[in-house]
């Protein structure tokens, strides 16, 4: 088991290395660098000024040198002002030492955000916290509802409840966040006026039922259908097993059979599905946070990508890839733990 986890950790590290290199390459393409320089200077800067800005801030160095610097394997050189000969930081909002140093991901330094004019870590981690809060509430609402629907539908396959709930869950899987978000906002914010159509106040004043329900609902609804269908399939399979028939034949009530015998076995598969929902939620987070103006991870990612904020975007991709891969690992380990019939070699 330990060897398995270690090998998977190795794969995760390798994947993260490859992915960050791809992202690094993509955001350092010529048009993207131009866009960054223009956003930092002035719309009408001449080409020479853009070029000199890029050279001055080190964007023209060799690709591998810069990637190494970002990783923390190559020394970052101080920025010498040619006029005074003194070392000045590249960005006024980000201090850097005057002598060459190693400052990259491996040293825990995520770099500087050009969009938010601050350190990446100062922006990224509070945003992650905000998103964590959103995710927590989504999970708290989504998982019990989805499991309940799945169990009720799968308990008696082919019954009217089953048909109705199955069509309902198919419908929710057909409504992506930007569709359900619009529909819920129209119903609950514009027509009924019960809820706030924007979660912008949640960042500053803390979350309330009034401003946080719509984002949570919108995100949860898309996942509910999928988890419910998986739970239903697993429940249907369990209900046809011999031991369920035995339990029924020895005179246990139907409810007792479902709760004591079927449920435990039926919940193994949904566990994996729920864990694998995290990557999916990550995309949902981006849409929902943009739609409801909630300043979390997704909002940061969109801002970083829209403004070609190199260090921030790299930080975001690192975090999201880490989340995706580690949930996969946890789901594999958890599956082996929950289901003793499966043993990882």
């Amino acid at each position: 088991m330990l060897a398995f986890i270690l090998r998977r950790m190795g794969t995760i590290a390798l994947t993260m290395l490859c992915l960050t290199m791809i992202v690094f390459f993509m955001i350092n393409l010529e048009p993207n660098l131009k866009k960054l320089a223009i956003s930092q200077l002035d719309m009408r800067s001449p080409a020479e000024q853009i070029e000199s800005w890029l050279v001055k801030n080190g964007y023209r160095q060799n690709f591998f040198v810069r990637y190494g610097q970002w990783l923390g394997l190559v020394q970052k050189q101080p920025n010498i002002d040619p006029a005074t000969g003194k070392a000045t930081p590249r960005f006024s909002f980000c201090d850097e030492p005057a002598e060459p140093y190693y400052g990259g991901i491996l040293q825990g330094d995520f770099g500087c955000s050009t969009k938010f004019k601050t350190k990446v870590s100062a922006k990224l981690f509070p945003a992650l916290g905000a998103t964590g809060l959103l995710m927590f509430w989504v999970m708290v609402t989504m998982v019990p509802i989805a499991l309940l629907i799945g169990i009720l539908a799968g308990m008696r396959e082919g019954s009217r409840t089953d048909r109705a709930l199955s069509v309902a869950s198919i419908t929710t899987t057909a409504t992506p966040e930007y569709v359900s978000g619009v529909i819920f906002t129209v119903i609950f914010a514009t027509w009924l006026g019960w809820l706030n159509g924007s979660a912008a106040s949640a960042t500053g004043q803390g979350i309330t039922f009034y401003n946080f329900t719509l984002p949570v609902m919108t995100m949860a609804i898309y996942g509910i259908g999928y988890i419910a269908r998986m739970t239903r399939a697993s429940m249907v399979e369990v209900m046809t097993q011999q031991y369920i028939r035995t339990a029924r034949l020895k005179g246990l009530s139907f409810g007792n059979v479902v709760v004591k015998h079927a449920l435990r076995n039926a919940l193994i598969a949904p566990f994996t599905v729920i864990m694998l929902q995290f990557p999916w939620l990550l995309t949902g987070v981006v849409i929902v946070e943009t739609m409801f103006r909630y300043q979390g991870f997704g909002f940061t990612l969109v801002e970083a990508a829209g403004n070609n904020d190199i260090d921030l975007l790299l930080g975001c991709s690192l975090v999201s890839v880490f989340v995706v891969l580690s949930t996969q690992l946890i789901s594999d380990i958890g599956y082996a733990y929950l289901n003793p019939r499966i043993r990882v070699q």
Partner: protein, 385 residues
């Protein structure tokens, strides 16, 4: 100037009347399919269940809407009539006496016409991109599942690499306006669009390699048709000028294929690993058939059930992805009538006007729902066999 309006009941009637070509085509196709359902194989079996009929009807509805868009829509989807700015549903346009059935948006375009024309964009790109993703995923998934070993390790690693990307980040990287200046989209397009040609060439070669009289016409056909489309799509240099794609659409296409082929790859790989242990595969191996013959002519036909179901679901998922692209304003032109862009434009103004937001959202939702119902019915049918 005051606009004249028609009542809600007349709006409903007006919408139903505008869709007349669709109702006609639906009646013919569904009626014929229902009568001859016993002879139509898997497709005919769909008509045995309510879910199947609903799925088929919704999918056909949008298919015909896309086909007859110019007849159904009363206005130009990009045309602006200033007086109709933010007009409520049912407003009568003074000049032509035609009705803005679902009202006007903030740029005074007809929401109904835009919804109808939006279906064209979605119904061209989503199925085509899914077809290419299926080709890429199948061509790579077959050897990965069949041979296993190192080729499987490498391909699976690459697939997991793409799957580990959050889709939205992938799109932001692949579908920015600046990237059209670099050769990356064209390189990827050149790579992806090769797969169908390779797939069909191998398919025919393995089957007919001892029968040149069948092989050569088929190979020639594959290379000519494939090469023609390839040249038209990748280099935009079709000598006949028929196959043509806008650069930004090519970019979207490539991004969507890139995002969904690893999923197909995984499914195909899993299916192949399961099927290759069957007796008929062993029999083919004993006969001395070549590995690619076994993969393409023994394994693939037996994996078609789950693949058809997956294709249906995947077209729906691709539609959602296209909507996401539109919602973030990536790739598609800002005035494009596709549903995602329309949702984005309308959702910013929900506080003041809700009518431009509802038609595209309901359209997108119903189309994806139709595909999901279809997939569900197909799955039920394939389980019965």
């Amino acid at each position: 100037m005051q606009l004249e309006f028609i009542g809600p009941f007349q709006i409903v009637l007006g919408v139903l009347a505008r869709f007349w070509p669709v109702w006609l085509a639906l009646a013919i196709v569904l009626g014929a399919s229902f009568v001859y359902r016993k002879k139509l194989g898997l497709y005919g079996q769909l008509f045995d269940s309510g879910v199947g009929i609903a799925g088929v009807a919704i999918c056909f509805f949008w298919l015909f809407t896309a086909m007859f868009s110019s007849t159904i829509a009363p206005f130009d989807p990009l045309g602006q009539i200033p007086i109709m700015k933010d007009a409520l549903p049912g407003a009568i346009e003074p000049a032509s006496k035609q009705v803005y059935l679902f009202g006007g948006d903030k740029l005074s375009r007809d929401v109904f016409s835009r919804m109808v024309f939006g279906s064209q964009i979605v119904l061209i790109i989503a199925p085509a991109a899914t077809a290419f993703a299926l080709m890429v995923g199948t061509t790579l998934g077959l050897p990965a599942g069949y041979y296993g070993g190192r080729i499987d390790t490498v391909l699976s690693f690459l697939a997991n690499l793409v799957l580990a990307f959050p889709v939205i980040l992938l799109f932001y990287l692949l579908v920015t306006p600046g990237i059209m200046d670099t050769p990356i989209p064209y390189g990827l397009a050149g790579l992806f669009f090769l797969f169908p040609i390779i797939f069909f060439a191998t398919l025919f070669y393995t089957r007919f390699k001892n029968r040149p009289e069948r092989l050569y016409p088929l190979l020639a056909l594959t290379l000519i048709v494939g090469g023609w489309i390839y040249v038209g799509l990748v280099f935009d240099a079709d000598p006949l000028g028929i196959v043509h794609i806008e650069p930004n659409q090519l970019n979207i296409f490539v991004a969507v294929v890139f995002a969904s082929s690893p999923g197909v790859f995984r499914i195909v790989r899993g299916l192949v690993m399961d099927i290759k242990t069957r007796d008929y595969v062993a029999a083919a191996q004993t006969r001395g058939e070549s590995p690619w013959y076994i993969m393409l002519w023994e394994i693939l036909p037996n994996a078609r059930g789950p693949l058809i179901v997956d294709a249906c679901l995947r077209i729906g998922y691709t539609t959602i992805l296209l909507g996401t692209l539109g919602y973030f304003g990536l790739g598609l032109a800002p005035e494009s009538p596709d549903w995602g862009t329309a949702i984005k434009d309308a959702s910013r103004l929900l506080r003041s006007f809700i009518h431009p937001a509802l038609p595209p959202t309901i359209a997108l939702m119903s189309f994806v729902l139709g595909l999901n119902l279809l997939a569900d019915a197909l799955r039920e049918q394939s389980m019965k066999d």
